[in-house]
């Protein structure tokens, strides 16, 4: 019996070691094509940029580096690292990566105020939703779950989801083929992701099939902008929100880490996000964090972002709106300065 178990354990260990080899070779953000290509571009650019915007498509389609730089007389060199569908956990990792990467000249990081939850079911099983998930993130997630005020059943559910993910990732289950494909297929240069310093404009007269579909759906729904504005108003007008102490602590640690390296770190709230994102943002309020938040989402202050004229679809601004947003962001940043 013992011989049998020894053999199985040894085989498992051997297998585990072999399966790790691709992970040692792969770049850190290999599973997110946009991050991967943009980081490659940064490596090639040396110390050309000093300011980085991290976040989802709201950043990718909303922040124009050229416009932002123009507000600062050449002191700021911006690169947009936004990637559609990226998760909050992934973005925090990217921010840490930038801070730790000494060959880059990082002065400012603007990170879309992230929700530190796992992706929904659909995304979680996809490569994009999980490739970055490691032991550190697992322990981080478990702490968050057990310190939260969720019910026992909810905690169990979340624990099992995270545990499944870490086991699957440890053994590269379901992503092994993607790893090999990455390693053995010729990678495209991905120059399109680095064009316009990482910004991707959404034009209202677009001919791109995917963009067109979203645009059509938006135009067909006459009430969506009003709904988004109202939900944002309701959340930002509500005086009190319960605090998520664990996320507060995490964000504060990130701020401290940035300060240690003389990097200025800001959490940005972008307009037209879903209700749940704003609700979460209200739960991470502390004196320290408040000083590092740039809120561009409040309809009271930025009503234009909720107007059709500046919108591409229900959640994104068009190119005209992006110009407005970038300038607003620069103004807020100057105020902090």
């Amino acid at each position: 019996m013992k011989k049998f178990i020894r053999k199985i354990l040894f085989l498992l260990l051997l297998f585990f070691v072999i399966i790790q080899i691709p992970k040692w070779v792969l770049p850190p953000f290999w599973g997110n094509e946009i991050y991967d290509k943009k980081l490659n571009h940064l490596k090639e650019s040396g110390q050309k940029y000093n300011t980085f915007f991290i976040g989802t498509s709201r950043v990718n389609n909303g922040i124009i580096p050229k416009t932002f730089d123009a507000e600062f007389n050449g002191n700021i060199k911006t690169f947009n690292l936004g990637a559609p569908g990226s998760s909050g956990l992934e973005n925090i990792e990217l921010a840490k990566y930038l801070m730790e990467h000494k060959t880059l000249n990082v002065k400012n990081i603007f990170i879309e105020l992230p929700s530190l939850e796992l992706h929904g079911d659909e995304n979680r099983v996809s490569l994009r939703g999980r490739y970055y998930y490691d032991l550190n993130m697992y322990s981080f997630s478990l702490k968050k779950i057990f310190k939260s005020s969720k019910t026992f059943k909810e905690k169990y559910q979340l624990w099992s989801e995270h545990t499944r993910l870490i086991i699957e990732n440890a053994f590269s289950i379901s992503i092994f083929d993607d790893m090999l494909k990455y390693l053995f297929s010729s990678q495209s240069s991905g120059q399109q992701f680095a064009n316009n310093k990482g910004y991707r404009a959404l034009y209202i007269n677009t001919k791109k099939e995917n963009d067109l579909a979203r645009r059509k759906a938006f135009l067909a729904d006459k009430t969506i902008l009003t709904k988004r504005r109202k939900s944002a108003e309701r959340i930002f007008n509500q005086a009190k929100y319960p605090k998520d102490e664990f996320v507060i602590k995490t964000f504060e640690q990130l701020i401290d880490k940035a300060e240690e390296q003389n990097i200025r770190l800001y959490f940005v709230l972008y307009p037209k996000a879903a209700e749940a994102i704003y609700e979460k943002s209200r739960q991470v309020s502390s004196k320290k964090i408040k000083a590092h938040v740039i809120n561009l989402a409040s309809p009271k202050k930025y009503d234009d972002f909720y107007k059709k004229e500046y919108s591409f679809d229900r959640a994104h601004l068009n190119h005209k709106g992006a110009k407005l947003l970038t300038k607003a962001c620069a103004r807020e940043f100057k105020k902090i300065k």
């Binding site: 011989k3 297998f15 072999i18 499944r164 289950i173 092994f176 090999l180």
Partner: protein
């Protein structure tokens, strides 16, 4: 719980360690652990349906005890009928009610009468046909006095619910499995190692072969009305490998898992695609079901005794019932009927027992004649599989009709529309070829990895290589086809 799930990867070692390290001293406690683990395994899918297994187990256990107590033939027959009515009643309600209601309504409509039977929104309990047949075999054997009724309730409950084979077989005979629950099990290193190899081979067949073929099969069968010629033939051939990889893979995992716990389950597949005629195919495909029908339906009906008409009736009966067992759809009945038609000429010519031993028993390669026979048999089964896979008889007929049209049906364009490269299909063909070569070499053994005598480093390289192939394909893995039966 699926074998190809993370839950099972955690469940199996936990149960294994408890079984051999904590409860190894007392066979009764081990049986209770098996029952508990099996109910957890089944309840993971839907705990409500556990009540069916528990009820069915109680009924057959109780009837068995009663059968053991009485010599009165009328009373014994009554007890047997009660068991049949309850077990087949469950099957009838959960599996066949809607089919009968719809078919009867269609029949009445065809003679100008209108009938509107309420069809019920019934969820088919996973594996009901498997465990029902298993419990029935116990009661029938006790009734026939071929088996002593058990008084050990935990052994009986473990026999009915034994998790490796609970949801998709092999359908065990009480005579073989039940006595194994009475005796102390001792860990046998060689048996456990062989079990692990068989599990590995089963996963390879399911996740690598079956699920890779499924990618093509699903779309080709869905668009069969628009396609023609070569691509439809390819779809039928790939389905033949899909269903084989899926079901025989499950059986290998089940048998291998049982071996880890010291049990021997019956063989369910014996390289059926190397058969030289249909009779041989049916001796090698889903052996536990074929032999169940032979023992409990075919022989009681008279088997091959009696006149030609009687024999014909018996052959048709067993194939049609076997088809119907697979599902409440006319497609399965036609599939069974077609196989009966394939079989009958052999029966009439008395050639159905010509090929009892495995092909090329004494040589490395088959003769030209044998290759020809194997190919013909394989193509005939592929044709029948079209009925098994198609959603309706009409769709199957259209599929077969289009299969004989000339042209490749825009094969290249079609493959491109699947967003798969030509290399992907070549890769799948390569994997199928690997399966055929390994199984050909191992055809005198029970499974593809049994008793390989290579040096350890080479053996371990094969294990790790196969595991990597399995991992490579794991993302597309799906439920086993036979769960629905």
């Amino acid at each position: 719980m699926l074998f190809n799930s993370l839950e099972f990867c955690l469940f199996l070692p936990i149960v294994f360690l408890l079984y051999w390290f904590v409860f190894q001293k007392d066979v009764k406690i081990q049986n209770i652990l098996i029952v508990a683990a099996s109910y957890l395994f089944y309840g993971w899918w839907d705990w409500r349906f556990l009540s069916l297994i528990i009820f069915s187990s109680f009924i057959d256990y109780g009837l068995g005890v009663q059968l053991g107590k009485t010599e009165n033939q009328r009373r014994r027959k009554l007890l047997l009928w009660i068991s049949m009515l309850i077990n087949l009643g469950f099957l009838g309600v959960f599996k066949y009610y809607n089919f009968f209601a719809d078919s009867f309504a269609d029949l009445l409509q065809s003679v100008g009468m209108n009938a509107d039977f309420a069809t019920l929104n019934i969820l088919l309990p996973v594996g009901i046909s498997f465990y029902t047949f298993q419990t029935m075999s116990y009661t029938i054997d006790v009734y026939r006095r071929k088996l002593e009724p058990t008084k050990d309730i935990f052994a009986f409950f473990a026999f009915v619910s034994f998790f490796p084979q609970l949801v998709a077989g092999p359908i065990e005979r009480a005579k073989n499995l039940l006595p194994q629950f009475y005796t102390q099990r001792h860990f046998d290193h060689d048996k456990a190692v062989d079990g692990m190899r068989q599990i590995l081979w089963g996963f390879f067949k399911k996740i690598v072969i079956a699920d890779s073929c499924a990618v093509y099969v699903n779309v080709i069968f869905a668009d069969s009305a628009e396609l023609s010629g070569g691509i439809l033939l390819l779809g039928a051939i790939l389905f033949a490998f899909q269903i084989y990889g899926d079901f025989s893979g499950y059986s290998d995992i089940a048998i291998g898992t049982a071996r880890l716990f010291g049990f021997n389950l019956m063989r369910n597949f014996a390289y059926p695609y190397f058969s030289r005629d249909i009779a041989e195919f049916w001796r090698r495909w889903h052996i536990s079901l074929s032999s169940w029908f032979k023992d409990y339906v075919y022989i009681p009906l008279g088997g091959s005794r009696g006149g030609k008409l009687m024999q014909l009736r018996n052959v048709f009966a067993i194939f049609l019932i076997s088809g119907f067992w697979h599902g409440a759809n006319w497609t399965f009945i036609v599939w069974g009927g077609l196989n009966a038609l394939y079989f009958i000429p052999q029966m009439l010519l008395k050639t159905n027992r010509n090929n009892l031993a495995i092909v090329a028993q004494e040589s490395a390669l088959p003769s030209i004649k044998e290759i020809f026979q194997i190919l013909i048999t394989f193509l005939l089964t592929c044709l029948a599989w079209v009925f098994f896979r198609a959603p309706s008889v009409k769709d199957a007929l259209i599929y077969i009709g289009n299969m004989f049209t000339v042209g490749d049906g825009g094969f290249q364009t079609y493959i491109r529309t699947l967003k798969l490269s030509g290399n992907h299909l070549i890769g799948v063909a390569g994997l199928i070829l690997l399966l055929i070569i390994v199984e050909w070499i191992q055809r005198r053994k029970e499974h593809g990895l049994e008793d390989i005598k290579w040096p350890q480093p080479l053996r371990w390289t094969v294990y790790i290589g196969l595991t990597m192939l399995i991992l490579y394909h794991f993302g597309d893995s799906s439920q086993f086809i036979y769960f629905q039966f």
